[in-house]
């Protein structure tokens, strides 16, 4: 059975025509996972085949809905009842989640089959997946290179045909950057679109759950199923969910597109610039209106991000004290020594670095100079986008300044690693949605990603333009 680049519609049709059963399909993916050399998975769902058997019983009786029997991989920062949830950390190495996240619960109701939990940077902190407590993930295009991060396992799993679709989380680019590095589609929804209940928090004002898929429309299907109000997340938005898959079918070229003036002077790998210019030229030729917009404060967005994020990290990760769950010491220690000994063994180096940074930023004397100022920069970034979206509907940017870098290339210099988030953090700081899709490869055959950004709650526009560009690229390569 050839499961290469399987998408939701192919799977759905296959079930309808009885070309394969859910058990056969699940087994095909599980056997790919077994042979996998990318280290994309931390754990496998032992019940996957049993779940597939239940799906086959339903398939025998009725026509399947779109997501019934869809095998899926879930990032290990998202909890699934009964499955291990390590978040890529030794701190939670043996933690079994007692409940499921809302996003997963909704997908399960739609009938998905969970294959397993994917590798990621510890507590989603990293841009290369090298900060995982369970070893780095390798890029399926080149095993000497990183898959990006933090959702590196989810992106690599989809790219390497270990799963047709996957879930990731995006705090500063953690879905879009690995999607770009691995050559798949990734979507960060508007903040509040998908419930964060059951997502092991990194930075609560920035985190969002989103899909990683082979096609733009697959991301639309998954977002459709996950989105919507949830009373268990106080930041969940109480608003209706549009028909995202339908937006992918829109033929109109009625949206105004924009490219960013300031990004012309940024250090970007020339092949990425060329690939994007080619797409923009084709869009113009096809009749889309493209203009130049200005985002003057974007350079400060990354600085603000590396203040706000660690501040929230140091607060969120204070709960890992080894008392109620997670790693534990068997020695008798005083409370302070207990905390320190558990946290020093359980957390990896980057996690400690960010906790240290956050603690420093929030400490007396620095709070006003850094944290408060960063929250003001957030206002400026929001204003930048608000002005840009008054002129255009969708902004096109590179997803990353370079294609996938080498394993070990940036590990000794954290700041250089942080700079790979330059184009993605703005969306998290402002809370707007973003989509990355593959638009070609560089001379080393490494995927190049294009990022689309839209205003709050305008994911439909991302899907409409994304689907159009996907067709341009597919026409070019086939």
């Amino acid at each position: 059975m050839d499961i290469k680049k399987f998408d939701i519609e192919k799977i759905n049709k296959g079930y309808q025509k009885k070309e394969f059963s859910a058990q056969e399909l699940t087994l095909a993916f599980l056997s790919n996972i077994k042979k996998d050399k990318t280290n994309s998975f931390i754990s496998i769902n032992e019940n996957a085949l049993a779940e597939a058997k239940k799906v086959d019983a339903i398939l025998a009786k009725k026509k399947p809905n779109k997501l019934l029997g869809l095998p899926i991989a879930i990032k290990d920062t998202i909890v699934v009842e009964g499955l291990r949830a390590t978040a890529g950390s030794k701190m939670l190495e043996n933690y079994i989640a007692p409940y499921s996240s809302t996003a997963v619960e909704r997908l399960k109701k739609a009938g998905v089959i969970i294959l397993g939990k994917t590798n990621c940077d510890e507590f989603a902190m990293g841009s290369s997946n090298e900060n995982s407590g369970f070893g780095p993930v390798k890029n399926p295009s080149d095993f000497t290179r990183v898959p990006g991060g933090s959702s590196g396992g989810s992106a690599a799993a989809v790219a390497a045909n270990l799963a047709p679709v996957a879930l990731g989380t995006d705090t500063g680019g953690s879905i879009r950057q690995p999607a770009a590095f691995c050559g798949v589609v990734g979507v960060k929804p508007t903040y509040g679109r998908v419930s964060r209940y059951g997502l092991i928090a990194m930075a609560s004002s920035l985190d969002q759950v989103g899909p990683l898929t082979n096609t733009v429309k697959d991301s639309a299907y998954l977002l459709q199923a996950m989105a919507g109000f949830d009373e268990y997340d106080s930041t969940s938005a109480d608003r209706s969910v549009p028909d995202f898959p339908r937006a992918c079918e829109k033929k109109e070229k009625n949206l105004r597109l924009g490219v960013v003036k300031e990004y012309a002077n940024q250090k970007i790998q020339p092949e990425i610039t060329t690939a994007i210019n080619d797409v923009v030229a084709k869009l113009k030729k096809d009749g889309w209106k493209v203009s130049v917009v200005s985002l003057p404060n974007m350079d400060y967005a990354l600085a603000a991000y590396y203040l706000i994020m660690p501040a929230e990290v140091s607060s969120n990760l204070a709960k890992f004290d080894g008392l109620l769950y997670g790693l534990r010491k068997e020695k008798k220690l005083s409370l302070d020594d207990w905390y320190k000994s558990v946290r020093s063994v359980g957390f990896g180096e980057e996690t400690k670095r960010r906790i240290m940074l956050g603690t420093y930023i929030l400490s007396a004397g620095y709070y006003d100079a850094y944290y408060k100022q960063a929250q003001k920069v957030r206002t400026l970034v929001k204003e930048d986008f608000s002005q840009a979206f008054a002129q255009v509907d969708v902004i096109l940017t590179p997803t990353t300044p370079t294609t996938a870098f080498r394993l070990g290339e940036k590990t000794s210099d954290p700041l250089s690693m942080y700079l790979s988030d330059a184009f993605t953090v703005g969306a998290n700081i402002a809370g707007i949605p973003g989509l990355s899709l593959p638009i070609g490869r560089d001379k080393n055959n490494l995927p190049i990603g294009l990022q689309l950004l839209a205003n709050y709650w305008q994911e439909e526009k991302l899907f409409q333009v994304g689907s159009y560009i996907e067709k341009i690229i597919n026409a070019k390569t086939t």
Binding site: E81, Y325, K329, K332, L333, R343, Y360, Q373, K376
Partner: protein, 94 residues
Amino acid sequence: MALDKKTIQKIADLAKLNLSAKEFLSFPKQLGKIMAYVDKINKLKLENVAESLTGVSTEKSVWREDKVKIFKGQHLNQGKKSGDLLVVPKVFDK
């Protein structure tokens, strides 16, 4: 602009972390470099700018009734239980 060792020790204590010898050597310079980078926001004139705690700020707060629901999860696998309570380790004497 490396942070001094005394500051690093103070932050580690506040963050409840023991640093390894290697971390104690690398963190002052690494954190200093990151702080020097993020300090660029102080070049901006921000006196009259309001703070934003989140990106999406127009949404209303979500409230629900403060009612106890009994959790029926089967996988509270860690630690000993005593009735409905989790037994935590004794940490108040050495």
